[in-house]
Subunit: 421 residues, 2 copies
């Protein structure tokens, strides 16, 4: 409990910290073009919660939002819910359906694609879990008994369609990993040989295309043009994010704005848009659909920011204990960008993409002297707070099951920032 | 004219030749499991015209169909229409729109993707041309003046949507070429260095994904669930065809049925389904949509069969003058499969995927002794005939422009089988 309490405390601290506001802005104060430090419009708050070109918020108003989020959260401040157990049965059904979808009449590719599902993603099933919890969290207006039936029977049309969204999301995610592996010439992923390394680029590209094509067919079968548009946009964002990472100018590499936009495209868009699709299929009004979108977006951003930190620290808090894979590939992430604000000398090293001998050590040295890691963690915590706030803003429900699922979503947003791997 | 006449004569010969029926069946008489040589149901005729597991037809009835097709065709037996000129303006608009769609805010990939459009496909623009001609051919019920306006103004909603289908089709086609290049580790395509060779697998996969994602977004924006389903199915077919080619048993490699199915998936499905999408958007009834589908399917099959022949003969009629790229990659195509019916000794060579020294020469020797090349050409001509027959079966139109476009589609089906490159 102590550990948990200190985490919550940490979260409060993040919300009320003035420094963390700079972190959120990703801009030093001097770059605030309007100097609006004492007020913020509703529009700007919305900007923070939604996908915008850049993040822009006033520190005082932000304090209030953060406080409110924390305050609401503390109402159900009890032992964390195991989110997996709440939808375990459905995740099993979903995994089996995914497998049978993959094991087509052509076993060789089935094996190849299943390989990825088995070793990597299926163990975590993070995305489908979030989406199923989101689906349950939005069964508003359904009496307790009906919600129970929904959970047990799983035969309702709407729920089946939401499960389909979860499947499609997972297929798109795995397909993008497969193609990214080819792009990166990666030889390992999650400790096991990546598919393209083990079986060649041929099969990795083909397996990715296979999953994308199955996702397209499944998506089309939903016959919902709005949902088709949302998930098509995700495909576009995934590619745009990859392009932004591959091809950028020195100025872009040093920009927090650019980094956050790329991170949204590469990681958060899939969660944001699929959460919105779940809400749409639940027949929720536009405001609730946007809250679902905001949850997915902020959860995705928090997740990626923590990933970026862990790439430097690994499971420990010490610098250089991570795999350092980003920096080795010349990719600049949040910790370095925050360090750059304190040590402009990092510009040269970044512009050289850390390619000169000693560049990586030099970057780590500056990072160690700076507040970079702490600020990146703060920014992650702020996005996790926004995610929690979105769920807390859902229309009230009397169903205990719905409440439990919402609690699980909020807990997940915290787990994302406290994870060590 | 003599040349053209002899081609038409050739076509008549194909339709009335008993041998050509075997060629169409892809099965020697002894393998006819039902022995139905004197009658054929309407269902079976439909099977020939549509995508089925295998091709099966009675020779006498087929003779009638063939004769009818030729007879109808001879009504407009005059100088061939230049199909390109009929839709040249629109093709230009379409190419520009494609280019501006590709030249996004990230120029590097724009250049990479445009590279492919410039050097290869844009020169021919075969698929968009067919689709725009199909669109014009199905402007039934619109008076002559309106059809003229349609051609000149190009601003009508329906026509814009059909142009969008043509664009999407082209994007899917180019994306599949880009990914196939990675799959095949191809170092050239159409005589120029393939994109993956010149710029690495990274960019080829990414450029393909980029086009697919743009195609998905464009498709979703049409907000037509049936069209989305048709073109999603195409994506699935392209992958299935590639898988069938990559992973097959000895028995499958020797099967004409398997070969034709793979050819449909890899080549004809895109034309078939996009032609159907054009008809759907034109608001045509189901029967006409199926005729449009049949045209695309048969044109695609004829195109690929001729490609398979040219891989052996090149621009000449002599064996071994082509690039022999299929056989070098161990891929068995129609000419070899027909030769196999006469020379079962080819089984061993095929099973070894032509890998033993001398295998390719041995295969060419058997092919030279056999009727393989001629039968493959016959089969191509038959599918071209079916394609023409589908267009001739469209509901009558009084519009000269519509008639001209239909004539162009029929002429194209003939050009496909008489082309030498």
């Amino acid at each position: 409990m102590k550990d948990k309490y200190s985490r919550l405390n940490l979260r409060r601290k993040f919300f009320t910290s003035a420094k963390s506001i700079n972190a959120l802005n990703g801009l030093p104060d001097s770059r605030n073009p309007r100097g609006e430090s004492n007020g913020i419009s509703q529009f700007k708050i919305q900007q923070v919660f939604r996908c915008k070109e850049y993040i822009w918020i006033d520190r005082h108003k932000f304090h209030d939002v953060g406080f409110q989020a924390h305050h609401k959260g503390s109402i159900t401040d009890e032992e964390q819910v195991d989110p997996f157990s709440l939808v375990a049965d459905e995740l099993s059904i979903l995994a089996n359906r995914l497998r049978s979808m993959i094991l087509t009449e052509i076993p060789k590719l089935g094996t190849a694609a299943e390989y990825f599902f088995k070793l990597g993603v299926e163990g975590k099933r993070f995305r489908p879990m979030v989406l199923l919890l989101m689906a349950s969290s939005l069964t508003i207006g359904i009496p307790e008994v009906a919600a129970d039936c929904l959970r047990k029977g799983l035969d309702e049309e709407q729920r089946l369609r939401q499960q389909r969204i979860a499947e499609i999301t997972e297929m798109i995610h795995v397909a993008s990993l497969l193609h990214d592996d080819v792009l990166d010439d990666a030889d390992t992923r999650r400790g096991v040989g990546s598919l393209n390394f083990v079986m060649g680029n041929k099969l990795a590209v083909l397996a990715g295309d296979f999953l994308l094509s199955r996702a397209s067919v499944a998506l089309a079968s939903l016959k919902n043009t709005e949902v088709v548009e949302l998930l098509s946009k995700v495909l576009e964002h995934l590619v745009t994010g990859e392009i932004m990472q591959m091809t950028n100018t020195n100025e872009q590499r040093c920009s927090m704005e650019y980094y956050m936009q790329k991170t949204f495209y590469k990681t958060a868009s899939l969660m944001a848009n699929s959460c919105k699709a779940i809400a749409l299929i639940a027949g929720q009004p536009a405001e609730v659909c946007m809250l679902a979108y905001d949850y997915g977006r902020n959860l995705g951003l928090a997740y990626q920011l923590v990933d970026d930190v862990l790439d430097f620290t690994g499971t420990t808090a010490s610098l250089g204990k991570g795999s350092l894979s980003d920096i080795r590939q010349g990719i600049v992430t949040a910790p370095i960008l925050f360090a750059l604000e304190e040590f402009p000398q990092l510009h040269d090293v970044i512009n050289r993409k850390f390619k000169k001998p000693g560049d990586i050590d030099l970057a780590l040295e500056f990072l160690g002297k700076s507040d970079g890691i702490r600020k990146a963690k703060q920014l992650a915590a702020q996005h996790a707070g926004f995610a929690a706030f979105s769920v807390e803003s859902f229309p009230p429900s009397e169903s205990e099951y719905v409440k439990l699922c919402r609690k699980a979503l909020i807990d997940l947003s915290e787990k994302v920032i406290t994870r060590t791997k």
